[in-house]
Amino acid sequence: MNKKQKKLLIRIIVASVCVVLLMIFSKYISQWYIRLALYMIPYLVSGYDVLIKAFKGIINGQLFDENFLMTIATLGAIGVGIYQAVNGGDDDYLEAVAVMLLYQVGELFQSYAVGKSRKNISQLMDIRPDYANIEVDGQLERVDPDEVEIGSIIVVNPGEKIPLDGYIIEGSSTLNTSALTGESIPREVSVGTEVLSGCINMTGVLKIKTTKDFEESTASKILDLVENAASRKSKSENFISKFAHYYTPIVCFSALALAAIPPIVLAIIGNDPMVETWIYRACTFLVISCPCAVVISIPLSFFAGLGGASSQGVLIKGSNYLETLSKVKYVVFDKTGTITKGNFEVVDVHHNTISKEQILYYAAHVESPSSHPISQSLKRAYDKKIDIDIVSDIEEISGHGIKGKVGGVDVMAGNSKMMKMFGIQYMDCHHAGTIVHVAINGEYVGHIVISDEIKATSEEAVKSLKESGVKKTIMLTGDDERVAKEVASKVGIDEYHAGLLPADKVSMVEKIIGEKSEKDKLAFVGDGINDAPVLSRADIGIAMGAMGSDAAIEAADVVLMDDDPKKISKAIRISRKCIKIVYENIVFALGVKFICLVLGAIGIANLWVAVIADVGVMIIAVINAMRTLLVKKL
């Protein structure tokens, strides 16, 4: 509890003790004004700040807030008490005091719960590094990570957080990445491995050369994203703030009408106007109408939802996206990097005139200047040192392949289009995968089959999407029909479109968006490489495996920190749970209020019921909102 809360707690306790004493002894006090004066002690002790705020509000033209409601209601009730006492009836000030007291109990609870959840959520996102160790003259020195320049060498001891992004130049260790990815299995790292800030070094001492400054490091970026998320408000949040804007004045005028109209009507038709009864009912009305339960629980639910999701390695950029995510019925995947691993491997070499090794030798050499994933996989498969000096006259024909000279021999490596282009007779392959045909001196020598592995969890991921109510899963890929078909059927995807260029993917997504109904939302899942336009065109863009990829973090609305496709359905489930709780709270709080308002107006509910309804609903709504944090098992 902070200082403010402690002070309020003490005031509540003192006022409660006074009230109990008064309840016991007030019958021995004969004069009503002494009783009134004594009851004013707990009233003012518990509620003086409410009165002051209401007064200040009136001066500044802020008429209709909770303080105003409470002040008018309690003063009104006291007034009714005085009126009855003067007329020789039973006076009761206890209700007014109790209303103020319980209102403050509610305020204290609310402020405590909100503070607690703030703390909980910031603990979930406990990746902010406090310091970095720099070696100065053989001595370790702690400095602010902000002051470390790019290219500095920092030392991270076991148990410490890695403060800045960089790569390891000395030492090996295991890293706990759970704060970043939600993944509990530690990651092995050694010299040369790139490491991200926010991970915790578990076993060995690491020396890291930094590649980014603090502002640009992963930990800062993520924290930034999470903090900004709360300021992108959802429709429900905007609805509630608009609602509160109109609701309170309406209630105040209704209360005024309730206090004035029935007595006037009664007087006109010649009955007893019962002024004090109707004023009392109007006060009850005001107390019930206090909007705090809804106003506090909605942002709290969203905040907890965002926090809970980030603890699972799912970063959602705003409550508005949380809302959209919950309505996702179509999931479109980009194949490479989401369903498949995106690391191409040579799986087979089909040769005729020369040996496997020779084909790989030529292919790897002619492709050596290229950074294309396919070229990389050829180099990996060759697994010997590549002699760049013997490679010359390289020409890359985009979308086809590469030709050039290797050790004086003309080498051509590319797809079937390339072979046709140069009029070389090639053999088709029955394997699904990317085929690299190789020709030497214009003569066909065989082909290399390269294929991309399907992720271990892809099938399960698609299944769990279906289980969580997704109508259709669609896969888009630039690969050929055969590869697409094989992957789609293995993983269980409903529909696939092959042979697409990046621009085709955008128009394909647009086409699907046009065909579905407005209510159902479409999510596009990509790995953040080359698919930024699609990510932003979809109703909601999900980038996965985004650790360290700035482009993906920029373009997407939802960022999955690791590359497990199962997180997609998890994200959808988290959002559904959150939205469900939001609606529960809206319906529950407004429902109870409405019922009580009616009961209050016709005189069934008294002030006690009113304040218990108000505070009780608030407490229940806040506790319900906190459930959004429990997302582990979803």
Partner: protein, 73 residues
């Protein structure tokens, strides 16, 4: 030009009021208050003196919610 300020306020409704007050202050293009993170994000109009604007924002916020605070760095 956008800047983020730490704030202190007790209730969600009050935060909303601060946001409205900040938005209405001359020199402020847009303002968003997040009650949950206790932060106010202010987008200034071009060529205004941010500190002077923020002083005014603070004053206006105090008017609508006497119990609030904006921490100007």
């Amino acid at each position: 030009m956008k800047k983020t300020y730490n704030i202190d306020v007790d209730c969600a409704n009050c935060a909303e009021k601060m946001q409205e007050a900040a938005k209405k202050t001359p020199g402020v293009k847009d303002a968003v208050v997040s009650f949950m993170t206790l932060k106010m994000k202010v987008e200034f109009e071009d060529g205004v003196d941010e500190n002077a604007v923020m002083e005014q924002v603070r004053k206006n916020c105090k008017k609508v919610e006497s119990d609030c605070e904006i921490f100007l760095k």
